[in-house]
Amino acid sequence: MLQCDFQFQYAEFNLKVKLQMQKQLLGIMGASGSGKSTFLKNITGLLQPQQGSILLNQQCVFDDQKKINLPMHKRRIALVFQNAWLFPHMNVKQNLKYAENLCPDQNKKFSFDQIVDLLQLKPLLQRASYQLSGGEAQRISIGRALLSSPDLLLLDEPLTGLDYKLKDQILPFLNSVKLETQLPMIYVTHHADELAYLNAQVVYMDQGSITEIPKTH
Amino acid sequence: MILGLYFLPSMSILHAETIKIYAAASLTNAVTDIAKLYEKQQPEVKIVTVFGASSALAKQIEAGAPSDIFFSADQDWMNYLVQKQKIQVNQVKPFLFNQLVLISPLQSKQQFKAVPTFNFAQSFQGHLCTGQMESVPVGKYAKQSLIKLNWLNSLNGRIVGTDDVRSALAFVERSECQVGIVYKTDALISKKIKISGVFPSNSHHPIVYPLALTQQGINNQSAVKFNHYLKENAQAKKIFVQYGFGL
C-alpha cells in the first residue's frame, strides 16, 4: 500500500499531496490539469518531489531528508496509460515476455499462463503490435504491467479513448485483476462510475491538492 | 561608382597582353623571378604562371586549357602534346638540364652510396617520397634510377608518390618522409633538408626540360617574344643557373 506526503513544484504549478491508501484500490478524480498525471509521475519516479517522502509497503522509495531516491526501474511500480504503448518491434508474446524477463524468478508473483488466462490474451499472442484493436492493446498493456510483478499498479485513465462497449468489456477484466492479484492499485479517471464499479477509495485532486470526500454509501 | 571600380581591373587586363605559361613545378622559383623581371621591363605585358607536375599540365593543355608556352620537366610529356597536336614538333627546344638527388631532413644521418650493393632499403626507416612514378617526371626518373641500382623491389610499399616534386619536398621538410628523391634545384631552395646523395646521370634518362610555344602561343605575339626571352636573354639564363639548372 502506498503512503506519501510530498510537495512538487514545476514553474507555476504546485503539487502538495498527503495520503495513505486505505483500500486496495485508490481512485483519483479531478479535472484536466489538476495534477493527477504529475502525481503519478512523482510516484513512479519520473519526477522528483522537492520535499517529502513516499513509502510503498512500508519501504521508502523517496525521502528528501534521508536522501533516498530509488530510480524508476527499481521501484516495482508499473504504469498503464491511456495509450497501450506496446513495443512496436515486438509481437504481443514478446511484449509480455519482456516484462516477465525483467523480474527475477524468485520475485515472480504471477505466471505467464495465469495472466494470459486472466486477460484472455491467448488468441492474440502471435499478433504484431499494430494488428490489435484499442481494447485488445489495452488488455495486453495491463497484462504486461502485471507480468513485471509490481508492488503497485498505477492506471492513468486506462479506459479513456475506448468506446462504451469496450469499456464495458474491459472493466470486468480490471475487476478480476484486482480480485485475483490483490495488488494495490491507483486508478486515475474522470469517470466516477468506473471507480464505483471497482469499489475504490476515492479522492479528488484540485489544483495540486488532494481532498477526500466522505463515502456516499 | 562602385560598379565602375568593378570594371576597372578587367579593363586594364584587356589593355595588357597576357601570356600564359604552364611550367613544371620545379621551375616555380626560376620562372617566377624571370617573369617578374620581364614584366618590369615590359609593363604592358602580364604573365600568368601555372605550375604543377608536367603530367597534370600536359593533360590540362590536351583538354583545352589556354596555354601559350609549355615548359616541361621531361621529353615524354612534351612529345605527348606533340602527338595530340597541341604543339608543333618544330617548336620544341630542349633547354635546361637538372640532376636527381636524394634528400633527407637536416637532422638525419643518412648517407648513401649510389651502387647496387648498398642496402638502400635498410639504410632508412619509414617512407620515401617522390613524384607519382607512373606520371610525374621526377617520379619517373626516380623509378629509372631505383631500377638501375636494383633498389626498387626492396622498397615495396614504402614509396609515397606525390602530385608534384614540391609536395615531395614538403613531406621531407616536415620529416613525414625520411628520404625523398627530388631535383637538385629543388633541394637547393630548401633550408630544412639536406642532400644526402646524387644519382649518377647514367642511372636515368637525361633530365631535359624542353620549352615550346603551343598552337595557341604561336599566334600570341607577346608569347613569342617571351619565349625568345626565356631562351636567349642573358639575365634570364643567369637566373636559371643561379637556381642550379644546367644549360
Binding site: R76, L79, H89, Q131 | Q132, S135, G161
Partner: protein
C-alpha cells in the same frame, strides 16, 4: 575481368569504408543519443563542431590530420613510439574517412532517436528495465533504420573520399590508392582514360549495391513494424 590494380583499388575502398563505418558507429550512436535526449548549455557548440567536417574543404581536413597524426605530428609522434602509424597507411585512410563521414552518420541516427516516443522508454523503465537495458532493448532497435541509413551514408561517403585522404595518406598503390585516387592517378597518365572509366563504372556499381542493400533492409524492417506506429 579486373586488372590486379583495379582489384587492389576496389579491395582498399571497401576495406577502408567498412572499417570507417564500423569505428564511427559507437561514437555516432553515443553522440546522436546525447543530442537527441539532452539539453545543455554548450549544445550549440557541439553541434557546430559536428558540422565542421561537412563545411571545411576536405584538403584542409587532410592537412589538419597530417599536422596532428603525421609521423612528426603533435599526436602522431607519440603514436609512432607506440608503433602506431597512420600517415601513408590504410589506417590513416580509415581515419580520414571517419572524420569526413562522421556528421553524415550522426544526423539520421539522431533523427531516429528523436522519433522514438519517450513514453515507450518510460514504460520499459517502469516495468523494471534499467536505463542501459532500455537503451539496448528499446531505443537501439527502434533506431535501427536511422543507424542503417547512417551506416550506408558513411560507407558511401568513404568510398568517394578523396581530398582528405590523398593529403593525409598520399597515393600509394595497394596501401592507400582507393578507387577515387586510382581514377585520379589514371587521368594523369598518358592514355589512362580507359582504365579510369572502368573504375568509374566499378564505383557506381559498388555504391548502387550498397544503396540497394540498404533499401531492402529498410523495407523489411518497416514491414515488421507495420503501417501506422505509435512509436514513429
Amino acid at each position: 575481368m579486373l586488372s590486379s590494380e583495379e582489384w587492389s583499388a576496389l579491395y582498399l575502398s571497401v576495406k577502408v569504408g567498412f572499417f570507417a563505418t564500423l569505428f564511427c558507429l559507437p561514437f555516432a550512436i553515443m553522440l546522436a543519443w546525447i543530442l537527441a535526449r539532452y539539453q545543455f548549455r554548450l549544445k550549440f557548440v557541439v553541434e557546430a563542431l559536428l558540422q565542421m567536417p561537412m563545411v571545411l574543404p576536405p584538403v584542409v581536413l587532410g592537412y589538419l590530420l597530417l599536422i596532428l597524426f603525421g609521423a612528426n605530428g603533435w599526436i602522431g609522434q607519440y603514436l609512432n613510439q607506440l608503433g602506431i602509424q597512420l600517415a601513408f597507411n590504410w589506417k590513416g585512410a580509415v581515419l580520414a574517412s571517419m572524420i569526413v563521414a562522421f556528421p553524415l552518420m550522426v544526423q539520421p541516427i539522431r533523427l531516429s532517436f528523436q522519433m522514438i516516443n519517450q513514453q515507450l522508454e518510460q514504460v520499459a523503465g517502469s516495468l523494471g528495465a534499467s536505463p542501459v537495458r532500455v537503451f539496448s532493448s528499446i531505443s537501439l532497435p527502434l533506431a535501427l533504420p536511422g543507424i542503417l541509413i547512417g551506416s550506408i551514408l558513411c560507407f558511401s561517403r568513404s568510398l568517394g573520399e578523396f581530398g582528405a585522404t590523398i593529403t593525409f595518406v598520399g597515393n600509394i598503390p595497394d596501401e592507400t590508392r582507393t578507387i577515387p585516387i586510382a581514377i585520379y592517378s589514371l587521368i594523369q597518365q598518358p592514355d589512362g582514360e580507359q582504365g579510369a572509366m572502368r573504375l568509374v563504372i566499378l564505383s557506381i556499381l559498388v555504391a548502387f549495391g550498397a544503396l540497394i542493400a540498404n533499401a531492402y533492409i529498410l523495407q523489411n524492417y518497416q514491414r515488421k513494424l507495420g503501417g501506422k506506429d505509435a512509436a514513429m
